[in-house]
């Protein structure tokens, strides 16, 4: 048996959390150092598994499989494919930079970092779970600390936002859980193992008809939407996106970074793994309609972002808009679109983490996020301004940066899917969505102009200085990733395709056979 890399990645943050809680309350600096170190270790390990993955080998590698509750068909089964590894890398980057920018938290840093670490364990766990129960467990582990983190360390209507977020996500996840249980009880061998379930799905095990009061429908038709949209709540799919801007705005900086950067991807990832992969027929049937919802995301999110006065709300709604593109990529069900979607998950994760870090840095020093009253901050914190501008260019899909690689592929995917006859309206969707990109350019420019340029009010923001070295380190890492991936997208694309190719082949088989 090989070294259990994935388990170490999952459980080292959890152990760190326990360690932190056992430390004396007043050792704030030690707490910060330990947390940052642990975050760095997970980053290093996720880089390592990314590099060590054999791209010509099996789809799932680093497999660990131990029976957990045999009576219920639950096993501890973790393994990583190209998509999971990409997400691991993203999580490692965001948690490391997030722990750097949270250095300034003074109110009980011990509990803050411990909760952050528990949350990260859950996130890592979801991305490598190959057991439906395990995935759901880690999913919940990632959601629950969020409530306490926002309600305790947040700002701007924090309790309202925390409760709203928790209720939305909880209800979504329970709907999805009921769907998972339905799959479990419908599977030929009662099991939660995703390999087994996926195999059963490809053999048409979930194609049987269910009698309902209003007629007979196939099992997949019935259960695809609850699972996909249940997890989709966390991916911010319209009209279930409402928790996201409020939650992101209320959360403390590192939590916003993690939440928008990584947690929303959990929703998309789980919807792909549990929804699309296990019920491909249901996906073919429903995704062409889901695409309407996410088109609203893309355009409406960007339009709302444009009229916000609160700096952080702009970023919050921009996440809604960009996450819409991810689901749009799923809806293409072809290689180009799926590659673009996964790339968008990564690129948006880094970009939005960068944005929230910048907002946090400005807010910590200016004590306001009101866009009209800010101005000229580029003079005081040039590093932050440059980072934000790079992020903004990524956001509008400027060629040479990672966002372009992602969004171009998604639109190409949508177009191709239209030509391949998935649904007649796909080309129009692509055309309308481009409108979102134009709006994005507008709101990014507006923020850059009003916050970082223009007149600096010396009287109001007297004593506002530059950011710390740690902040600069975090910004540099994030910006560098965005640029490097824009120039050398194949660094990531090769890896992503090893994960998406099997999915698309499975679609082809299912379509051919069914």
């Amino acid at each position: 048996m090989q070294f259990p890399f994935l388990s170490v990645i999952i459980f080292s943050p959890l152990l760190t959390a326990v360690l932190l809680l056992l430390m004396p309350k007043d050792r704030k600096d030690e707490v910060r150092v330990i947390a940052a170190f642990a975050a760095f270790v997970t980053l290093a390990l996720s880089v390592f598994v990314f590099v060590a993955y054999d791209r010509s080998g099996l789809q799932f590698q680093f497999v660990e499989r131990i029976p957990w509750v045999p009576a219920l068909g639950i096993s501890y089964h973790v393994a990583a494919d190209g998509i999971g590894l990409t997400m691991l890398l993203l999580t490692g980057l965001v948690i490391f930079t997030g722990s750097l920018v949270s250095w300034g938290i003074q109110d009980r840093p011990r509990e803050f970092y411990a909760l952050l670490m528990i949350l990260v364990s859950g996130v890592f766990g979801v991305f490598v779970s190959r057991d439906g129960f395990l995935l759901f467990f880690f999913y919940e582990l990632a959601i629950f600390p969020m409530y306490i983190l926002i309600a305790t360390w947040g700002s701007t209507r924090k309790e309202y936002a925390a409760m709203k977020l928790t209720l939305y996500l909880l209800i979504g996840s329970i709907v999805a859980l009921v769907g998972i249980l339905a799959l479990y009880f419908a599977s030929p061998v009662r099991t939660f193992d995703l390999d087994e379930l996926a195999k059963a799905a490809q053999n048409g095990a979930f194609m049987f008809n269910v009698n309902l009061p209003w007629g007979r429908v196939s099992f997949e038709t019935l259960w695809f939407l609850p699972v996909f949209l249940g997890f989709g709540v966390l991916a911010g799919i319209w009209p279930f996106h409402n928790w996201s801007p409020d939650g992101h705005v209320a959360a403390p900086t590192a939590v916003s970074m993690l939440h928008a950067g990584v947690l929303m991807k959990l929703g998309a990832f789980a919807a792909l793994r549990m929804g699309v992969e296990l019920m491909p027929h249901g996906a073919r049937q429903w995704l062409p309609f889901v695409i309407f919802l996410v088109t609203v995301n893309v355009v409406y999110g960007a339009a709302i972002a444009m009229v916000q006065k609160d700096f952080k709300y702009v970023i919050g709604f921009s996440s809604v808009s960009h996450m819409g593109l991810v689901t749009m990529g799923f809806a293409t069900m072809n290689v180009v679109g799926l590659n673009g979607a996964v790339m968008q998950m990564f690129s948006h994760g880094i970009m939005t983490a960068l944005f929230f870090a910048v907002v946090g840095m400005v807010y910590d020093r200016a004590h306001t996020r009101d866009i009209p009253s800010l101005g000229g901050f580029a003079q005081k914190m040039p590093w932050v301004a440059i980072a934000f501008i790079v992020g903004g260019l990524v956001s509008m899909g400027m060629p040479g940066l990672s966002g372009f690689v992602a969004e171009l592929q998604i639109f190409m995917g949508v177009w191709t899917a239209g030509q391949a006859g998935v649904a007649a309206w796909y080309p129009y969707i692509a055309a309308i969505s481009v409108l979102g990109i134009i709006l994005t350019a507008a709101y990014v420019m507006r923020v850059v102009g009003m916050v970082f340029f223009g007149e600096f009010h010396e009287d109001k923001y007297h004593g506002v200085g530059d950011v710390t070295v740690l902040d600069k380190t975090a910004l540099t890492i994030l910006t560098a990733v965005l640029i490097v991936l824009g120039v050398f997208p194949q660094l990531l694309m090769n890896m992503i395709s090893t994960g998406t190719m099997p999915l698309v082949q499975m679609f082809a088989r299912v379509a051919g056979g069914g």
């Binding site: 809680l21 509750v69 009576a71 219920l72 629950f144 306490i148 309600a151 305790t152 925390a162």
Partner: protein, 487 residues
């Protein structure tokens, strides 16, 4: 009775005999010990109970003894283990309470109650069963009203007594009907005669007896509509006793319910499955809805325990086909073990908070995470486990019960239970919110927790975590016991 069967009988009830000696011993010591040494009483009780627990686990299954009055198998041994564990944890909760710690009667009564429960599980005869139930109930009435200076405690004892005797009288009427119909008191003999009655077309006689008996047992497990005593008794009783009633007495009720229905009424299984399914639905729904409106944490936990009884009833009715795994009675036993640890942990936190702050309001939990992070984490674990959030033990308990019910085609019941679980999350999470998010005056002051209480609390919390991470050993044990049990 010849000597060898007598010996077998004595071996079978050895735990009960030891408990009897322990109870009298503790009460006797109380008379002779000087005031300063009375603190020892609780410790002596704990040591005694641990010894009985060890004896219980090593004793062989003897089957029927005393002319079939008592029947001891692995299933009984496991239920006994639950009662003993609950009693031990209750002692830990009581050790540092001023009114209780120096009182031999208190510990003596607690041990008597444990003995009664243990006989309830082991009884296989109507008369034995009734005596066991009364032994348990009367001692519990006394314990509920034990705080002599407190009106609420007196009210609690009196209410428990009035409701309890009422329910028990109805049950006794059911027993007398059963005897009248069958001229037998042994479970199997009654069942044989009842089957004949059913075949002769007199099902309604069987049904009458079944319903009357269900009233008494419904009272014990606090199922709706026999639940009215629960909130008042839970609120007024000394908190450790509330914990004890909520877990041990309920477990004893379920032990009797499962064995009695399976052994005495196999011919009317369809009827009692329907009856208890309906009870389960109203019990969990009403329990959860009323829990939403509570301000007192003990009342909230009372309604929560009613709702939990509703979930456990699902396991009781999932019995149609014994070849399906997981099997209903197994999941009931599993659930009760988990529920014991979880509720004791919750009540232990309540004891600690009440001791330090003198409040039983849910709002009194505000800022607990600042006063004592340990207590806050324990409360978090208990609430999430009660709410059935993975990976805590409570989640697996629910999953096993639900899986058993779906295996028997009771999907509709599971759908209602899942909806109920979602509803219950609201009030469980509300406590978490108070503990972690809200502030209260003076919450920078760290809170002291008595060492014994702390120990009991962390044993329970460790149990919740361990049964969550590794549920299989306890499940296998329960399953083995249920599979060989002759119902």
């Amino acid at each position: 009775m010849n000597p060898s069967t007598l010996n077998a009988g004595l071996v079978a009830v050895l735990p009960e005999i030891l408990l009897l000696i322990l109870a009298f011993g503790v009460m006797g010591f109380d008379l002779f010990l000087p005031g300063s040494a009375k603190r020892l009483l609780g410790r002596v009780t704990i040591i005694g109970l641990v010894i009985v627990l060890a004896v219980d686990l090593v004793l062989p299954a003897t089957g029927p003894v005393f002319g079939g009055m008592i029947y001891v198998d692995g299933w009984v041994a496991l239920y006994r283990m639950l009662f003993l564990a609950a009693a031990i944890l209750t002692c830990f909760l009581s050790l540092d309470l001023k009114e209780l710690e120096q009182n031999g009667e208190y510990y003596g009564l607690l041990v008597f109650a444990t003995m009664g429960m243990s006989l309830m599980a082991a009884a296989r005869d109507l008369i034995m069963l009734y005596i066991a139930i009364e032994t348990t109930s009367i001692t519990l009435y006394l314990l509920a009203g034990f705080l002599r200076g407190s009106n609420r405690s007196a009210e609690s004892g009196l209410k428990y007594f009035l409701f309890g005797t009422f329910a028990s009288t109805i049950m006794l009427y059911g027993f007398s009907l059963l005897y009248g119909f069958t001229r037998a008191t042994g479970y199997e003999a009654v069942a044989v005669e009842l089957t004949k009655l059913t075949q002769a077309g007199s099902q309604w006689l069987v049904m009458t007896a079944l319903i009357l008996v269900s009233v008494g047992l419904g009272f014990k497990i606090a199922a709706v509509p026999f639940h009215f005593w629960t909130p008042d008794v839970y609120e007024g009783a000394p908190t450790p006793i509330t914990a004890f009633i909520s877990v041990a007495s309920k477990a004893a009720g379920f032990a009797v319910l499962v064995r009695f229905l399976m052994t005495v009424f196999p011919m009317a299984r369809g009827e009692w499955v329907a009856l208890l399914s309906a009870l389960s639905v109203v019990t969990m729904t009403l329990g959860n809805v009323l829990a939403l409106a509570q301000h007192n944490i003990k009342r909230m936990l009372a309604y929560s325990s009613i709702a939990q009884a509703g979930y456990i009833l699902i396991g009781v009715v999932a019995v149609a086909n014994p070849d399906v795994a997981p099997y209903g009675p197994t999941t009931v036993l599993f659930y009760l073990g988990v529920y014991l640890l979880t509720n004791v942990a919750a009540f232990a936190v309540v004891v600690a908070v009440t001791n330090a702050l003198g409040t039983e309001e849910i709002a009194g939990m505000a800022g607990l995470s600042r006063r004592s992070l340990g207590l806050a984490v324990a409360m978090l674990a208990a609430m999430l486990s009660l709410g059935g959030v993975p990976p805590l033990a409570g989640f697996f308990a629910k999953l096993y019960v639900f899986a058993a019910a779906i295996g028997q085609g009771l999907t509709w019941l599971v759908v209602i239970a899942v909806l109920n679980s979602i509803l219950s999350l609201y009030y469980y999470l509300m406590v978490v919110k108070y503990v972690f998010v809200d502030r209260s005056e003076g919450d920078e002051q760290p809170m002291q927790v008595a060492p014994a209480l702390n120990f009991g609390l962390w044993v329970a919390v460790a149990g919740i975590l361990i049964l969550g991470a590794l549920s299989t050993p306890w499940y296998n044990l329960a399953n083995m016991a249920v599979r060989v049990a002759k119902f």
